[in-house]
């Protein structure tokens, strides 16, 4: 029997097949990373819970109505002006801070606000309360939340730059990479407690 040579397989169309698969995966792939504004809901209060009395001046009230208009501390405002107004409120430092574990935090020595008697006492007492209508558009609600969070970020960055010569964003990133670093942890915690995020969502109003 004559040994026939096996003919070589033509690999010329290999590229075509691979391209076809490649295009399929290119089309179906989604590379988006899930990201979002993180929130912590408050725990359900017990039935006989009496909310603590908070001084009016320590609450920054933001109302969004069904026409997506903003009412901040009783005055209408554009979304673009919200961050500045929030910073002014949080950073006011007009009085003494909260008493934590029996130790008074004293007056805010890192605040650069106007120290008005009519605005918040201390960043750890300053509460931002957002009340929206049931009919408010979700996009506007997120925008408002975002602007308020930006106020905190700006203040934290400023304080971190003053204290440690590095912005809070960078500090947090470094800490995420190196969780065991006690020094970094202390710094992050320090900035966090200096300007704690106290954002509360009030029950929404509704037409009926």
């Amino acid at each position: 029997m004559a040994r026939r040579e096996t003919p070589e397989i033509n690999a010329g169309s290999m590229a075509d097949i691979a391209f076809l698969l490649l295009i399929f995966f290119l089309v179906t792939t989604t590379m988006d990373v899930d990201s979002g504004i993180s929130k912590k809901l408050s725990e359900k209060p017990p039935k006989d819970y009496v909310p603590p009395v908070i001084k009016e001046k320590n609450i920054f009230e933001v109302n969004i109505n069904r026409n997506n208009e903003l009412l901040v501390e009783g005055e209408t405002m554009k979304i673009g002006e919200l961050t500045a107004a929030a910073i002014e409120f949080i950073d006011n430092g007009g009085g003494d801070g909260k008493v934590i574990d029996g130790v008074s935090t004293g007056s805010c020595d890192y605040c650069k606000g106007a120290r008005k008697a009519t605005s918040s006492d201390h960043p750890n007492k300053a509460i931002i309360s957002v009340q929206s209508d049931r009919g408010t558009e979700y996009g506007v609600y997120i925008k408002v939340q975002n602007e308020l969070l930006r106020a905190y970020t700006e203040l934290r960055n400023r304080l971190a730059l003053d204290k440690y010569n590095v912005s809070y964003d960078v500090l947090e990133k470094q800490y995420k990479k190196d969780r065991d670093n006690a020094d970094l942890k202390r710094k992050v915690e320090d900035i966090k407690t200096s300007y704690p995020q106290i954002l509360s969502d009030a029950e929404p109003t509704s037409a009926n």
Partner: protein, 155 residues
């Protein structure tokens, strides 16, 4: 000066033998990184709001997603619809949904479970509040309001 005229070699063809290799490399890259959509959306793909202050969601396996938007099926009527897993539900079904998500997880992990709400920009805050209240009932307090990260918001 005829030197130049004579030297007319044909252009050598570009060697394409390694083309499949390159393509395969790309192919494998996409095959590995691709994530097939697990749940079929019964609502119109929500257009997420933009925000600057976003945090990345970590530990994908500990995230349960709730979709909010308009139903694709017009028979279900207009208005906001909530989708859990692969069917349209109401806010009352959320506790069951959360318990189902928790069931296979260990006690340790439950603390880190996050609920991600993917809601359309045009949905109303009322629907989101209903969801929040239900989540609070079952003590699922970690929440992420899904939004796209952008560098700066144009006013």
């Amino acid at each position: 000066m005829s030197k130049f005229g004579k030297k007319k070699k044909p252009m050598p063809a570009v060697n394409t033998a390694s083309l499949p290799d390159i393509v395969f490399m790309l192919l494998f890259f996409f095959m590995v990184t691709t994530v097939m959509r697990e749940t079929e959306l019964k609502i119109e793909t929500p257009s997420l709001p933009n925000a600057t202050e976003v945090k990345k969601l970590e530990h994908k396996s500990l995230v349960s997603t709730i979709y909010v938007g308009k139903a694709k099926d017009t028979k279900l009527g207009t208005g906001d619809k909530i989708q859990l897993n692969d069917k349209i539900a109401t806010a009352d079904d959320i506790p069951t949904f959360i318990f189902n998500e928790r069931a296979p997880k260990s006690e340790e992990e439950i603390k880190y479970m996050t609920t991600s709400i993917k809601a359309d920009v045009e949905s109303s805050v009322g629907t989101i509040t209903d969801i929040k209240l239900k989540l609070r009932d079952v003590n699922a307090l970690k929440l992420s309001l899904s939004s796209r990260k952008i560098a700066e918001i144009k006013q």
